[in-house]
Structures are given as C-alpha cells and as structure tokens.
C-alpha cells in the first residue's frame, strides 16, 4: 500500500461505516496497521526503535495520546468550526503529548531521556492527526477511543517487532538482558540509522512476498 492510497483513505468524506467496538480496536492492530499497512508515523518508527524498551514506551505513549485525543476530539466535534478544526485537533493532541511527556519523565526518567525530543514530536506524527481528522471527528466518543486504542496498539506492535529485531542483532540483547552470551559479535549497524531503514524495508519486502505467494496460490486454486 503506497502513501497515495493511505491519503485517499484519510480524506474520504463522511463517517466510517458502523462497526462493533471490538472491530474498531482490531482493525487498527491488523488490517489497517499504521506502520506496516498504512505507512504512517514513520519518524518515531525509525528513530526510537533501537532498543525494545524505547520502542514499546514510544508505542504506548502514542496509544495514550490517541485514546485521549480521540475522546476530546469526538466530544467537541459538533462545536468546532470547519476552518479551525485542524488547529483545534493539533492543540488537543499537543496537550495530551505534554501530559504523556511529563508522566514518562516522572515515572521512567531513563527512557524519557533516551526518547528525548522524539516524545514531543508525537504531535507531528501524521498518524495522530490523521485518525483525529478521519475517524474521531466523525463518530461518538466510545468508538473514537476504541479506534485510538487499536491504532495505538497496532503501532506499538509494529514498533516492538522492529525494535526487537534491531536490539537482538545490534546489541545481542532484549530489554537490556544479554541473550547471545559474550561470544556474540554485535551487528552495530542495526542500531544505527541505516539499520532502521533496512529492518523496515526487509519487513515490508517479506510481507509483500507472503501476500504475493498467497495471491498466486489462490490463482492456482481458482
């Protein structure tokens, strides 16, 4: 799926079709996974996935922001003028990001320091604004929160996958605990910037390969 189709999906007018709360959550985790399918929120995906703890912290912080912003955006959706809606959503999102930033700084100072400026940068993550505009602004608060939770968890899952691969190969550890023992020579390249691009690139190539195999098998059977 290219970014062009993702853009079309987020710009689609009108409310999304009715669905159960469970379906709203599940959609974000699998079928419309923000990173692997919609290709949204790339900057934090690359920048903070050098260790598993950072990746999961960033994912959960984003999920928190999306649930909170989804609730508020959905509650005020009937009172916000069309012209100022984007600015309103951004200010709402920025408020929750500031909250998440302060909670993280108070509770987990080490992770907060490692994430650095990428924590406040959740504001300009296209995923948060995209879901506020295309989903939360058009449905009731419960569905908006469900969607935010699903998208946030899907984001967390992708980040956890990428950061687990990168930390395992780049440091030979998981959550900071040694996995391969002292004889393992760390593949430092994987925790450096090019490793981020490479890991996601190979993950996407693998996904495309599996989908292609499945398509061919369906063709043979048909």
């Amino acid at each position: 799926v290219t970014t062009a189709t993702a853009d079309q999906a987020t710009l689609m007018p009108g409310a999304p079709p009715p669905a159960s709360v469970a379906a709203d959550i599940w959609r974000g985790i699998v079928r419309e996974n923000p990173v692997l399918v919609q290709f949204l929120g790339m900057c934090p995906t690359m920048a903070v996935t050098n260790t598993l703890a950072n990746g999961i912290a960033m994912g959960l912080a984003t999920a928190f922001v999306m649930v909170g912003a989804g609730l508020v955006v959905s509650l005020v959706r009937k009172y916000v003028a069309h012209e100022v809606r984007i600015t309103t959503y951004i200010v709402v999102i920025a408020t929750f990001v500031t909250l998440a930033d302060m909670i993280l700084a108070a509770g987990f100072p080490v992770i907060s320091k490692a994430l650095g400026p990428f924590m406040p940068l959740i504001v300009s993550n296209c995923l948060t604004l995209g879901r506020a505009e295309s989903f939360a602004a058009k449905v009731g608060p419960v569905r908006a929160m469900a969607d935010g939770l699903g998208m946030g968890l899907g984001f967390t899952a992708s980040l956890a996958l990428l950061s687990a691969i990168r930390e395992l190969l780049g440091r030979g550890s998981l959550f900071g605990f040694d996995v391969f023992g002292p004889r393992f020579e760390p593949w430092v390249f994987m925790v450096m910037p090019p490793g981020g691009f490479l890991t996601l690139g190979i993950a996407l190539l693998g996904l495309a390969w599996i989908l292609e195999l499945r398509r061919r098998r369906a063709e043979v059977l048909a």
């Binding site: 799926v1 290219t2 970014t3 062009a4 853009d7 290709f39 949204l40 790339m42 900057c43 690359m46 920048a47 984007i86 600015t87 951004i90 200010v91 920025a94 408020t95 990001v97 500031t98 930033d101 302060m102 650095g116 400026p117 406040p120 940068l121 504001v123 300009s124 993550n125 296209c126 604004l129 450096m192 910037p193 090019p194 490793g195 981020g196 691009f197 490479l198 996601l200 690139g201 190979i202 996407l204 190539l205 996904l207 495309a208 390969w209 292609e212």
Partner: protein, 192 residues
C-alpha cells in the same frame, strides 16, 4: 565563526535531518517520485524552517522562560500559523509558485522536521544567529536528501523490478543505502 560553520556542516551532512535524524520522513517517502517536486518542496521547507527558527527563538527567549511545559503546544501553534501565513503571502504575491507547490505547502505543518528543529535548537541553547544557520543547514540537508532520493526513484521507475519490490519495501532499502553513505560523514566529528 568557526562554530557557525560547524553547525552548518554538521546539520547539512553529518547529522542530516532526514537520513540520520529521521525527521521529515513522510515527505521523504511521499513526495520523492519526481526530482522537480522534491527540489521545490525542499526549498519551501527551508523557508518555513527559517521562519520557525526565528519564531521559536523569540518565543523561547521572551515568553516561555517560566513555562517550559507549554513549549510543545506553543511551538506547534507557531508552526501551524507560520505555514498559514506563508501560504497566504505566496498565494497573493507569487501565484505561479503557489500553483507549482500545490498541496505540499499546507502539508509542511505536519512535517516533523519543522517542530523537530524548534525542539532541538531549544535543547541545544542556540543563539538567534546559530538557530538561523541551523535552520538553513537543516533545510538544505532536507533538499539534498529529497533530490537524491527522487533521482534514484526516477531510475527505479523504468527498471525491471520483481513484483514484491515495486512498493515501499525497496524504497526503504534504498534509503538505508543513502543513510549508510551519510554515516561516512560521521568521521568529521560529532554534533556540538
């Protein structure tokens, strides 16, 4: 003076905003199908970066001294309104340029490179002049990365690629190679 030169080279090459710091990846992947648009978007970004650097510095020095927790909210509002003002000004005075940039101009608001610049210059306590040089370096670095990527993608477009590599996967592997090339500049030293 040497400090300013170092900030410029460091942001342009050693810590390239897109390829090493991972800022502004949405436009890096989304708008790099053609060299011409990539080039123009890079220059528009540079202009907004300059405005943001000045705006964020003024805010930070005179207004936000005692309320650091309002930084994120204040900066994003500055960025959003800055982009809006630039859009109106360009539309009125340079209609041709406005048509060429099209949708990319308003999209600059959600470019994390802009907010990232404001946050980094604050974290590093840059003076106004340093912040402006930082913005120019970042903008030109962005333009460089966008044009490089766009030129490579124009060639890939006409090459005979396997089916699975026709989507984003291959673009990311190419980005990885570009990023690797920029890692070579790390030998010049680390950021100030």
């Amino acid at each position: 003076m040497s400090n300013l030169a170092w900030i410029f080279v460091s942001t342009l090459l050693v810590n390239n905003f897109t390829l090493v710091m991972f800022l502004g990846l949405c436009s890096f992947f989304g708008v790099t199908a053609k060299v011409e648009t990539a080039w123009r978007l890079g220059l528009a970004n540079t202009f907004v970066l300059l405005l943001t650097a000045a705006g964020a510095w003024v805010l930070n020095t005179f207004v936000l001294l005692h309320t650091p927790f309002l930084r994120t909210i204040a900066f994003i509002v500055v960025v959003a309104s800055g982009v809006q003002i630039v859009e109106m000004a360009v539309k009125k005075h340079f209609p041709v340029l406005f048509r060429q940039l099209g949708i990319y101009l308003p999209l600059i608001t959600t470019n994390c490179a802009i907010l990232g610049l404001a946050l980094f210059q604050t974290a590093r306590h840059y003076t106004l002049v340093e912040a402006l040089v930082f913005a120019i370096g970042a903008g030109l670095g962005l333009t460089l990365a966008l044009s490089l990527m766009a030129s490579i993608r124009e060639r890939i477009e006409v090459a005979d690629m396997p089916v699975i590599a026709r989507r984003m996967g291959l673009v990311l592997v190419v980005a990885s190679c570009l990023s690797m090339a920029f890692m070579g500049f790390a030998g010049m030293g680390s950021a100030p």
